[in-house]
Symmetry: C2
Subunit: 222 residues, 2 copies
DNA sequence: GAGCTTTTTTAGGCGAATCTAAAAAAAAAT
DNA sequence: ATTTTTTTTTAGATTCGCCTAAAAAAGCTC
């Protein structure tokens, strides 16, 4: 069975819209895909024939199990490529979406699994969204302040709530950047500081004041 | 101007066929692209309209300057991705061609230039073929036995003329593998050995007997 | 529940890239 | 220099993904 780029985009769009409303309308899809409702209807018939969606005229659509599985594989590819672009190629996390939209349609399964290994099997993309694993299982993600991170759990830095020059300077000094994998190794109540590791490096100590501005995502069941 | 995947494949095929014969025939193209001559004729008309080829019915085709430039950009992408797949993801160099055929059509110029940097601006792909730079300039490549490599020039290992277990064992011991960047730092005539570095690491000494089995590629003008 | 509005589908077409079958041009052979 | 063979082009279909315009179904409103 061959899945075209266009079909994959429909499947992904249906997946995302299902998060809001379990039954997805033709109009909502047309809006999402920047296309016309008539075109959507055409495609829905084809996706139905390929058993990727449940579809009855005028009744909206839902992904079938195999449609859902496919959607998760596409999202996995999209998010792994985003991670790659930010972590390895130094792109800003605002500019990667568009490029990942193209890369997510590269078909090789082996490629994506090796990329996953190469990147260290990350649990979240640069926006903190969970990356499904090769089996299509989506890790449960907490997105919180670094100070809420339990000791010993690895988490990825997804945003900084203060963009001042002083802050960026401090972050650079600690070699902390968006996407860095952080782990709390110790908490010191006395002087309100915490000891962390960055990217598995040596432990460093930072103030709770700094930690309060760092927002991280981590998987809750490993 | 928009270039589709199919058009890009035609341009690339014409480029490669021009290496053998400066005037490319419809039949040769059809063979190369696994399509029919009639389809080729259709496409040639379109490529001609877009000024990518010189085309007169019955007279074969040649790339125009802009067609040539486009071909070099596609080849650059193809070979950089191949390098990435082998060097970073650990693919064997036989299995990367097919995947690179897909990756080469990703459009972002910024992506490919950053990938180039990330990979250390390699001059050759895993097969020893030259990688055009961002301006479309193709480095001149020597492919020879490691023993012919001048002292101090970096070269990439592209093949090993002996696949015995003993040989592979020895290579693993020296952490030499296909794609490794080698440089000769010293030659010792006395015991027929040479001193080399692998991937910029510390110098190691190997026998000329081993070196005779290693084939490398390097750029002749840097 | 009759009429109006919105949503969705159908019908018919278009451009891209392919195909087959047939015609035309070029090349080769005698 | 004809004839034969090969190559190339034209003509006419097909599939895919999209479009517009019009019809049909569903959903509101009073």
């Amino acid at each position: 069975m061959k899945y075209s780029t266009s079909k994959e985009n429909y499947i992904k769009a249906i997946y995302h819209l299902e998060q809001e409303d379990p039954v997805v309308s033709t109009n909502a899809l047309a809006r999402q895909l920047a296309t016309k409702p008539a075109s959507v209807t055409d495609m829905l018939k084809k996706l139905h024939e390929q058993q990727l969606i449940h579809y009855e005229p005028y009744k909206g659509v839902q992904l079938t199990d195999s449609g859902n599985k496919l959607a998760l594989q596409i999202i996995r590819k999209h998010r792994l490529w985003e991670f790659f672009l930010v972590e390895k190629l130094g792109f800003g996390w605002e500019e990667v979406h568009e490029i990942a939209e193209e890369l997510e349609h590269i078909s090789s399964k082996k490629l994506i699994d090796r990329l996953d290994d190469f990147l260290g099997k990350p649990k979240t993309d640069p926006h903190g969204d969970p990356i499904p694993d090769a089996a299509g299982i989506v890790p449960k993600i907490e997105k919180r302040c670094l100070l809420d991170l339990p000791v010993g759990i690895a988490a990825d830095l997804i945003s900084v709530s203060n963009q001042s020059a002083d802050m960026l300077d401090l972050l650079r000094h600690h070699q902390i950047e968006i996407g860095s994998r952080l782990k709390i190794t110790n908490r010191f109540r006395f002087d309100r500081s915490i000891q962390i590791t960055v990217q598995g490096g040596p432990p460093v100590t930072i103030s709770e004041q700094l930690g309060a501005h760092l927002y991280v995502a981590w998987a809750t069941e490993d």
